[in-house]
């Protein structure tokens, strides 16, 4: 029995446990310290982590390299924003509409894109996301380029109040956990096995008799719908939705989260989202902190240009840290055994 427990105590499992505990306990800390900014930041992180989890389902497990995943963030967000603009603020209407709209969009886009593969697939998903971007930028009624302010968050009767920051955080976190659970159940089911089989060798899977196109399409739709939900949350979080939510660089950010955390690992995207967004917040401060003794005033100015460090850092992650954070944690385990 004790052997079983100690074999579960891998660095990876400990890291996952610490991360999840930290996420659950965060509002306690911010409540005690009064650090409101931190709660807002982490609500955002949790929401985007959910989007990354959904992308990981198709990218990491399904091998479908979508470069337009942010489109669903936008569709979910705009569903909430447009309905709120028309005076329908009930979450019981808004959220199902957001999910249905993303699912429908994913079904159409997926049905077309999955006919192609490789770089063509990357590009066609990108093109469709850009199309969605331009549509939303062109609709003057809902703010066009300038975006749409949401004056009232989704309402769920009297029981849940999304304007309460702590409540909203826990709802987002619960949905993130639900999403991870769903992905876990999916990838360990027969369906998930087929998807992963198709990632490794599509031709062989078809030869065995699996219509992989249909399986992949279903996976595409599930991922899109899940991301649509996180879009609805994001719109509620920022009280605002604009076309830039689905600009292609945003899709790039989601891919970074997935790869940084570790493709095809259950908690990888969460690690990736936390790492990327916290790092983005900290980097300017870090540059200032370490640069000032060496370069004095110059460093304070340079901290504005933190992306100049971020870019090459990404390059280094790609070149030297394959498997992302999850991969590193796994390696720790291997070294211990030797």
């Amino acid at each position: 029995m004790s052997g079983k427990i100690s074999s579960m105590l891998t660095p990876r499992n400990i890291a996952i446990f610490v991360l999840l505990a930290a996420l659950v306990l965060l509002p306690v800390y911010t409540g005690l310290s009064g650090n409101r900014f931190m709660l807002t930041l982490f609500t955002r992180i949790v929401i985007l982590a959910m989007a990354a989890v959904s992308l990981n389902l198709m990218l990491g497990y399904g091998g479908m390299m979508s470069f337009g995943h942010a489109a669903y963030l936008g569709i979910g967000g705009y569903a909430v924003g447009m309905l709120a603009h028309e005076g329908i603020t009930s979450g019981f209407v808004q959220w199902p509409v957001a999910l249905a709209a993303s699912a429908l969009f994913a079904l159409v886009i997926g049905a077309l894109s999955l006919r192609t593969r490789g770089v063509y697939f990357i590009m066609i998903t990108l093109a469709f996301a850009q199309m969605a971007y331009y549509i939303c930028a062109g609709i003057a009624r809902y703010g066009g380029d300038d975006g749409l302010t949401i004056y009232k968050r989704s309402e769920f009767g009297g029981s849940i109040n999304l304007s309460n920051k702590v409540q909203f955080y826990y709802i987002c976190l619960a949905l993130l956990f639900a999403a991870i659970y769903l992905v876990w159940r999916l990838v360990n089911s027969r369906f998930g096995m087929v998807i992963q089989g198709a990632r490794s060798n599509d031709v062989r899977m078809r030869a065995i008799g699996f219509p992989t196109y249909r399986y992949k399409l279903v996976c595409f739709v599930i991922a899109g719908t899940m991301c649509g939900l996180s879009g609805a949350l994001l719109a509620n979080h920022t009280d605002f939705v604009s076309p830039s939510i689905m600009y292609w660089t945003r899709s790039g950010d989601l891919i970074i989260m997935v790869v940084l955390g570790g493709m095809g690992s259950l908690f990888g995207p969460v690690f990736g989202a936390v790492a990327l967004l916290v790092f983005e917040e900290l980097l300017p401060t870090l540059i200032k902190l370490f640069g000032t003794p060496m370069f004095g005033e110059q460093a304070a100015r340079a901290s504005e240009y933190w992306q100049i460090v971020m870019g090459p850092l990404l390059l280094l992650v790609v070149l030297f840290a394959r498997g992302g954070i999850d991969g590193l944690l796994r390696k720790l385990r291997k070294k211990e055994r030797v």
Binding site: R115, R141, I255, M310, G311, V318
Partner: protein, 305 residues
């Protein structure tokens, strides 16, 4: 009618310009199997170099030539420092790494040139309109772009189809191991090809600079168009890129110019006014979707991969 001719010329000019970008992308992709999102950054850098060098030397043409050389060098350095390590890796690694390069280039430009845009003034002999047909006048500079880019396209054709380097490039595209095994310095070839692609992108950027403002992020939108073109034309095919680029240039320019009027005939005035801008920027993506649905490998697919 005058407007129509003018818009057609604009479409041709835009299409040829896009071809310069798409040709570099498709070369790099076809030969090195590398997805280079940072291609737009090289376009931006070409424009910044041109604006700076033109201000230094006081001559537009001299500035342009210097900028071209500088972009070529930047491209080769990028290949040696970063890209070389990415060959043979997954496409997702390419996407991420070059995404990082975009961040780096954007911020470097902001650091060096500041956040405000630059402008590249034209010399007087290029800034006046010329009469191309009786009663039809057209911007001399745009006409110059058409002539020069057409010349570059022809040069590229000769280079790829008629010279020894071009032969190696084509051979590298179809089977790079074999080319390496036959004793060709494939590393040098790759560096040259990447530099050539960079120079083409930089050239497109500096040609476009006097028409638009030179600013950060100017490459990002246009590089997506260039990607669309390479995909429509078939990845790796220069001929495909040329056809698709001109096609896209026409559709985009004419769509923006005349589509709203066409819509107004079909829809009410208000509905047309709302839908037109969104629809005309969508046209190209729609075209790409249709092409990929009908021919998933693009119109002129080069490789049999």
């Amino acid at each position: 009618m005058t407007l129509f001719i003018e818009q057609c010329l604009n479409g041709l000019q835009f299409g040829l310009l896009l071809f310069l970008l798409a040709a570099g992308l498709t070369l790099v992709f076809g030969i090195m199997d590398l997805v280079n999102l940072a291609h737009g950054s090289l376009y931006m850098i070409g424009a910044y170099f041109a604006a700076t060098f033109a201000a230094w030397t006081g001559s537009f043409v001299l500035g342009a030539v210097l900028a071209l050389v500088a972009t070529l060098l930047v491209g080769m350095v990028v290949e040696i420092v970063a890209m070389r390590r990415l060959y043979g890796r997954d496409h997702i690694d390419h996407v991420l790494a070059t995404f990082g390069l975009i961040l780096f280039f954007d911020e470097s430009v902001r650091l060096i040139w500041g956040p405000a845009g630059l402008s590249l003034p034209l010399p007087p002999w290029l800034s006046q309109p010329v009469r191309i047909l009786p009663g039809v006048e057209y911007s001399a500079y745009r006409l110059a772009i058409i002539v020069v880019t057409a010349a570059v396209a022809a040069f590229l054709y000769v280079l790829v189809m008629r010279t020894r380097i071009g032969m190696l490039i084509r051979a590298g595209a179809s089977n790079r191991e074999m080319v390496g095994a036959l004793g060709v310095n494939i590393k040098l070839l790759y560096t040259l090809v990447f530099g050539l692609g960079a120079a083409l992108a930089g050239f497109a950027g500096l040609m476009q600079a006097p028409i638009l403002t030179v600013q950060i992020g100017m490459g990002e939108n246009i590089v997506i168009l260039a990607f669309v073109i390479t995909v429509i034309g078939g990845v790796g095919s220069i001929r495909g890129a040329l056809v698709a680029a001109i096609f896209v240039g026409f559709i985009d320019t004419l769509g923006r110019a005349f589509f709203p009027d066409l819509l107004r005939m079909a829809l009410s005035k208000e509905a047309a006014a709302t839908a037109a801008p969104a629809l005309s920027s969508m046209l190209i993506y729609l075209l790409m979707a249709i092409v990929l649905v009908v021919k998933p490998e693009g119109l002129f697919s080069a490789s049999q991969k």
